[in-house]
Symmetry: D2
Subunit: 205 residues, 4 copies
Amino acid sequence: MDPIQRLTEVFERFPGIGPRQARRFVQFLLSQRAGYRNDLALAIRELGAHTQQCNACFRWFVKDSQANIFCNICSNEGRDAHVLFVVEKDADIENVERSGFRGKYFVLGGTIPLATEEPEKFVRMRELVARIDADASLGKLKEVILGLSATAEGDHTRVMIAEKLRAPAEAFSLKITALGRGLSTGSELEYADPDTIASALSSRQ
Amino acid sequence: MDPIQRLTEVFERFPGIGPRQARRFVQFLLSQRAGYRNDLALAIRELGAHTQQCNACFRWFVKDSQANIFCNICSNEGRDAHVLFVVEKDADIENVERSGFRGKYFVLGGTIPLATEEPEKFVRMRELVARIDADASLGKLKEVILGLSATAEGDHTRVMIAEKLRAPAEAFSLKITALGRGLSTGSELEYADPDTIASALSSRQ
Amino acid sequence: MDPIQRLTEVFERFPGIGPRQARRFVQFLLSQRAGYRNDLALAIRELGAHTQQCNACFRWFVKDSQANIFCNICSNEGRDAHVLFVVEKDADIENVERSGFRGKYFVLGGTIPLATEEPEKFVRMRELVARIDADASLGKLKEVILGLSATAEGDHTRVMIAEKLRAPAEAFSLKITALGRGLSTGSELEYADPDTIASALSSRQ
Amino acid sequence: MDPIQRLTEVFERFPGIGPRQARRFVQFLLSQRAGYRNDLALAIRELGAHTQQCNACFRWFVKDSQANIFCNICSNEGRDAHVLFVVEKDADIENVERSGFRGKYFVLGGTIPLATEEPEKFVRMRELVARIDADASLGKLKEVILGLSATAEGDHTRVMIAEKLRAPAEAFSLKITALGRGLSTGSELEYADPDTIASALSSRQ
């Protein structure tokens, strides 16, 4: 197939990119020097060679000379191992770090669609249970925070995960918590939904 | 002045209405029957005659035959008089009611701009203190919830009001609380600001 | 019914106004002095007393002491009576005036929905034919410009009006024209639709 | 540097892509199989090897076995060589083709900023003059359509190019035209700017 068309179609699979912007990307690349394109191609091809997925939290990190299998957070003895913050995706971690959280993480890999029969295809449930078993049996873990989105699919995922974690939670006396709901920065009472107001009321202080 | 132009200018003062929409309003009115315009004029003129501002919470309500000076919430013995929910404007009350809150209200009338020297010009501070004194001296009031917007101006207003309420709060052993912050319905961790995440973490349950 | 609720419902019928903004209008009026509301009510009620619809072009204008039945454009001998610009609504006239047009106007009163059997209910077709007959029989009129929106409904209206005007156009040797299509200010070739480009090509100069 | 960070920065240089979306691209690539990344890298690297810029119109096209130096439009004897349509960028050509135009093209490569002293750095002016000289001296070319955007920068570019083409236009009796302005599909008279209405009036038919 036509290489311009082929590359356009590859870019269309990028998240949030439609046909028009995919074509603009290709035009942009055509107008760059060959050196630029070669650098980009190399960076993409070597992305895999230079990165790896953390064996503990499953986020991607850059390999270093020590051939660590754990990311810098998971291998950091100074982090609080009593709290495990379960997030949907890698990008959430950066954001939670900015809030000052200093515990550990686990990347679920997504949310569970409302209608699916196979939740395991969408999120790392088994891996999460294994991680919790391992941490808890060492007596370190006390709490698992389910940091899902405040959306229908996020709520559904939270309920299903909480169900799955009921047995280990009882076995190891773990608290399973969810992030507090309330007014988020910038919101006004007049436009808030009743659930958010009720949450903000019950978490008032 | 030209009555079309004059009415256009009156409509331009309506909240959120620019010159173009003001003109469309006038065109709309011109295209209606005279009866419609007369009904609207009557409704506007009699708005004052048929409504009054509650002497306790300052929201507007429809007069009834008993010539009450208190609105149906303030005069309702069944409402919980231990909690006073301070809101910015009338419209907030409808929304808080939908969340299931069953205490009392006070309408502040707005927020305090960051730079003003005269907060009393923007919000009913003295009236709020008077209301709290009255309720608390009867031994009913236990808590004042400052239900301000989660914005810079809302935060500023909350701080200034809390300062003003420090003396009566001590005198009557009142709790002064603020609505909980956190993820509001629909928000995702990746796009939440650090303050919201920190609040959601501290109010996790 | 509750006067607050009633006025809210009247404002909801204003063009482009939903329930929330209608409520804000009422709250805004409640917070104004009674004098302001009375002035507004008077302005609305007297709108009809001080304005009238031009007998020639059907736009609304402010009455003056001479009790004219024609608006200042229709009664202006200096305007070019050879060209009649048919517009959808009063507001279009202001905009066309800014473009420098100095002929005459006729306000159709809207567009004809695609599916209606009764076009006369939506636009002043008979009145337009009568106006054209009157002007053309005096030998003044040479051209009728159908200034409809460049939308599906505007095109449909233009076709139906042109059909209706075929007989008078032949009888009086009138040109029936439509506004040129092309790139409007601010548009780029990459985002223009094929029809617009084809029009812009055929009207290139 | 960190390969995740490096690739993020490369994607940030893509047109219309900010830091957040650049990061999402990298996360997306990390989550794909290595085979996918290798295919993408190959497609980017070989983009240059498989494409070339047309020697006549300067748009990019896919090389074929005949090692043509002209794109399929420029080498197509069936296209009308009397008209040369000057566009800003490759993507414009696809759009103009959909309008039914069947002449030839020239890709200018951009527009001339209002404040620059060096227009040659932004658009292919010399190449355009050379192309016109070549075509016109063969007696084929009759008209050059300046298909610039209907924006301030597009207008400026059109004026500067027209100035540059004045000498060849006189020498070869060429018409230099611009696309017609008017209402573009979807626009309404009430919201059109005066220039657009004036253009639509002068190109009425």
